[in-house]
Symmetry: C2
Subunit: 144 residues, 2 copies
DNA sequence: CCTATTTAAATGCAATTGCATGTATATATA
DNA sequence: TATATATACATGCAATTGCATTTAAATAGG
C-alpha cells in the first residue's frame, strides 16, 4: 500500500514542473533567437563528443537522453541530413548501428555553447548562490 | 557583462532537466495506462475549479500554465469537444472569452486525482523526507 | 469621430511527436 | 539446427505543436 503525497510533496512537484518549464522555455527561445537548433541536438552531440571515438549506439542515446526510440531514429535522420553526425554499421550486432559525431557536429557544439552557457547562467545560475545550488543539485539527484 | 555558470550550476541544470523529464514521463505514462487524458487537461481543469465561478480567460490559463496562445486555443477546443469545459462570452471585453469547467470536467478531476496522486508519491514523494522535500520546494521556488 | 495601433483568440500549413507496425538480425529452445 | 521469440531500428499515419497570419474588438492619437 502506497501512502499519499504530503502537501509539501505536491508543492515540490508543481514547482519542479514549473521551474523546469520556465527555464527550459527561456533557454530554448534564446538558442533559437541566436539561430541555433534545439537543445536536443546539443545533447546528442555532447554525448557523442564525450565518448572515445565520438560514437554511441542509438539505443544508448535513447537511454541517456530519455527519448523514445522512434524519436531518436528521426532526430538522427535530421542531424545526419545536416552532416552533424553519420551512421556507421555496428560490427558486433547486425541489427544495431553506431552514430558518430562529425567535424561539423563538433563545430556546432562549440558554437552553441556560449549562447547556451549564458542562458543557463541567466535563468538558473543567477538565482541561487553556490551552496544553495549544490544543495539543489544534490536533492534533484535523489529523484534520479 | 554576465558571468559564466559554475560547474555546480551546470550540474544542477542538467539534473533539473533529467529529474523533471523522468518523473513527468512516468506520471504521464501512468495516467495514460489508467485511461486518463494528458496532465495538461488536469492542469486546466484544476485552475478552473479553483476559481470563483469556475471560469478563467484563455489568456490567464496561458500565463499560469506557461502555454503558447495557439496551444491554449486548441487545448480548449479538444476539451470542449469532450464537454469538460465550455466557452462563454466575456462581457468586459468583446475580444475575450471565459472558459468554464462543467460537471463532467469536475468529475474527471475527481477521477484522475487518485492515479495522479499515487504517481506523485511514487516518483517524487518517496524519494525524499519531509524536510528535504520542503528544502527542494523552497529552492525551486527561487527559480520562479 | 476617424484612423492607426494594439490586443485576444482562431486558423492554415509545416514540423515534430506518438503509436502501431514492419523489417532484419540475434538469441533461446525443442 | 529448425522454429519461436526477442531486440534494434525504421516508417506510415494520426495527433499535437510551432509559426505566421488572420479576424475582430479595444485603445490611442489626431
Amino acid at each position: 500500500m502506497t501512502s499519499n503525497p504530503s502537501e509539501t510533496t505536491i508543492t515540490a512537484w508543481a514547482r519542479l514542473l514549473k521551474a523546469q518549464a520556465k527555464a527550459l522555455d527561456a533557454v530554448e527561445a534564446n538558442l533559437k533567437a541566436k539561430g541555433h537548433p534545439p537543445l536536443a541536438w546539443y545533447d546528442v552531440l555532447l554525448e557523442l563528443k564525450r565518448e572515445e571515438g565520438g560514437t554511441l549506439r542509438p539505443l544508448e542515446l535513447e537511454k541517456r537522453l530519455l527519448l523514445k526510440q522512434h524519436n531518436v531514429s528521426r532526430l538522427i535522420d535530421r542531424m545526419e541530413q545536416k552532416n552533424l553526425l553519420k551512421r556507421l554499421p555496428f560490427a558486433g550486432d547486425g541489427r544495431g548501428q553506431l552514430v558518430a559525431i562529425t567535424e561539423q557536429g563538433q563545430d556546432l557544439l562549440r558554437r552553441m555553447w556560449p549562447a547556451y552557457r549564458a542562458s543557463i547562467q541567466e535563468h538558473v545560475g543567477s538565482k541561487l548562490n553556490e551552496s544553495e545550488m549544490a544543495k539543489l543539485a544534490a536533492l534533484l539527484q535523489r529523484l534520479l
